[in-house]
Amino acid sequence: MAKDAPPRWDRRMQQRLARGEAAALGELYDRFASLVHSLAHRVLDDEEAADRVTREVFAHVWENPESYEPKQGSMRSWIAALAHRQAVQRLRKEGAAALAEGGEGSAEELERKVREASAAARADYIVTSMPAPLRAALELAYFQRRDYRQTAADLGVTEDEARRRLRLGLQLLSSANDQKRNGGSSPWRHGYGRAT
């Protein structure tokens, strides 16, 4: 399936949601539910909690379609950011509540857990959003344990190109760890294909 809907689709969807078209909400769900749910699940590691986040995110979009700003990025990235924020907030809130009730661990440990879960979910999003050739190269080199020469042969590209793809793919992925530097919103906002 197409990962990046054309901007026209995004704007049209926004208009349809704004005018209260229930069928548009269904289409929105069909396109983004698995993205929202899997992001929330990566952060919270709990099926029910991920369901709740999914409900919250779609309710927010349905009630506030005008808050999407097409100039700032795709609807997909906007929804991913909403899902991520909701899930991280929930993880932090639940963790803090558990601590307040005398649960194990410290505030620092909770913060670290939140940070790690947050980066893991960003990384997932980045991998699923990056250009397919980069993703395929990472898949071969990391999950299939192919070296870059084998990767090049498998993909039918030069060794130079295989090295370039692996490096670029990791560079994109590394932005998932940049939470402090850019306030946590930037990985959702950029066209990954243009990064270098």
């Binding site: 069909d30 990384a123 997932d124 990391y142 130079d160 692996l166 490096r167 560079q171 992925l173 590394s174």
Partner: protein, 417 residues
């Protein structure tokens, strides 16, 4: 030994900059191995001298442990003397830690309706989906989620479409593939699309006879190649377009007639019928690729059963005209109560229906009940889909055996490809 003319240890002065370059002459080994002392590390491969751009380009492969040992050694050597590359190498190695296998979680199919209902509760829609289109909306979404999960190869898994031929009272079947089933749904949903003024997925191919069967066979035969997974997009786009269009047309459009070639249905029933077919064929696909597939939501299942129950009197009349069912036991004026069979469908989504036996114009009546059939909702749907024979359907029966046989056969005769 060392094919790389610029490799280390060839005595060229440039090599002086590489402090880790190994000696060319190996240490004597015999005595060492006999001595019982620990053996030295195996001899490291010679480290090639690579220029900065090449080393930089290797950083990704290095972080993934996807370069040759001598290249890795060269990169590591370089990291000791090049700050920018060392910074990047660290970043990339941390990024590798973020690579995780994709979680293949199947979304709970019931989540969609819960999420949508929650949304619509908080902000009522100005343009709602008519309630008679809701089963079609839900079933197409459910099938699409199944298709999302299946692999490329599974699109070509063989599927046997089964239905019941009312004329010969025999089960019939037709072999196709998963992609062929979606093509079938695309072409028959296309009948509704055409009735709504949308584009016909068959385009110029449209056969003279607009039956579901003829349309499907025409579509299948039009290409030399069997359908592939590319059929998913047009099918899904069309199903979304149907829901969108009937929403704008409003609830009143439900009376619009949808011709099926040999008969027609009002739009509201037609979309229930398409939802039913979508579920039945999704079940065929799920069987073919060995996935579980649940029945529809009870309120949707109820509408499907209701449609079949309402179609039974005319199906009975058709069979009677062809001599396949017992003659009517008396004339019933249209709109008056007549001899009836009580159809009791058990389970979630079930209910009771009184089926007028002697004329489609008659009204089912509890006072004129001559027979009672009880069966499970999913079993009834399997019967109406032609997946189980009338005489084999697990049904509790009481009363006029002829009426029961005729009604069960009429239910099976509702099935199509």
């Amino acid at each position: 030994m060392n094919p790389d003319p610029f490799g280390p240890g060839d005595g060229r002065p440039e090599d002086d900059g590489l402090p880790g370059a190994p000696a060319r002459i190996p240490a004597p080994r015999e005595s060492l191995e006999d001595s019982g002392r620990p053996l030295p590390e195996p001899e490291a491969p010679p480290i090639p001298a690579l220029d900065h751009d090449v080393l930089k380009s290797l950083l990704g492969a290095w972080a993934l442990a996807a370069c040759a040992p001598d290249e890795a050694a060269a990169v590591e050597l370089h990291l000791g003397i090049c700050g920018p590359c060392a910074d990047e190498a660290l970043r990339l190695r941390d990024a590798v830690g973020l690579l995780q296998p994709e979680e293949s979680l199947d979304l709970d199919p019931g989540l969609r309706s819960r999420v949508l209902a929650g949304c619509l509760d908080r902000r009522p829609p100005r343009i709602p989906v008519p309630d008679w289109a809701a089963p079609y909306d839900a079933e197409t979404a459910r099938l699409d989620a199944l298709l999302q999960d299946i692999g490329d190869g599974e699109w070509h898994a063989p599927v046997r479409l089964k239905w019941y031929d009312g004329g010969s009272d025999r089960p019939v079947n037709r072999r196709t593939t998963v992609a062929g089933v979606i093509a079938h749904l695309l072409t028959v949903d296309g009948l509704v699309a055409v009735a709504l003024g949308l584009e016909d997925p068959l385009g110029e191919l449209t056969p003279d006879e607009a039956t579901p069967w003829a349309r499907t066979e025409t579509y299948w035969k039009a290409s030399h190649f069997p359908p592939t997974r590319t059929v998913r997009m047009p099918w899904r786009e069309q199903s979304h377009a149907l829901v969108r269009t009937v929403s704008f047309a409003g609830g009143g459009s439900g009376q619009l007639s949808v011709p099926y070639g040999t008969f027609s249905l009002p739009l509201r029933d037609s979309l229930i019928d398409r939802a039913f077919e979508c579920w039945v064929h999704a079940g065929d696909i799920a069987d073919a690729v060995d996935y579980p597939y649940e029945p529809p939501a009870p309120r949707h299942l109820n509408r499907m059963i209701d449609l079949a129950a309402r179609m039974l009197p005319s199906a009975l009349a058709d069979r009677r005209r062809e001599g396949l069912a017992a003659p009517a036991k008396g004339l019933v004026r249209a709109g008056s109560p007549g001899r009836s069979l009580r159809l009791e469908v058990e389970g979630l989504g079930g209910g009771e229906w009184l089926i007028a036996l002697d004329s489609p114009g008659a009204v089912g009546s509890a006072e004129h009940e001559v027979a009672h059939v009880a069966l499970d909702g999913v079993e009834f749907c399997r019967l109406a889909a032609g997946h189980v024979l009338p005489e084999e359907a697990a049904a509790g029966q009481d009363g006029d055996r002829e009426a029961i046989r005729d009604v069960l056969s009429a239910a099976a005769s509702l099935s199509r490809m």
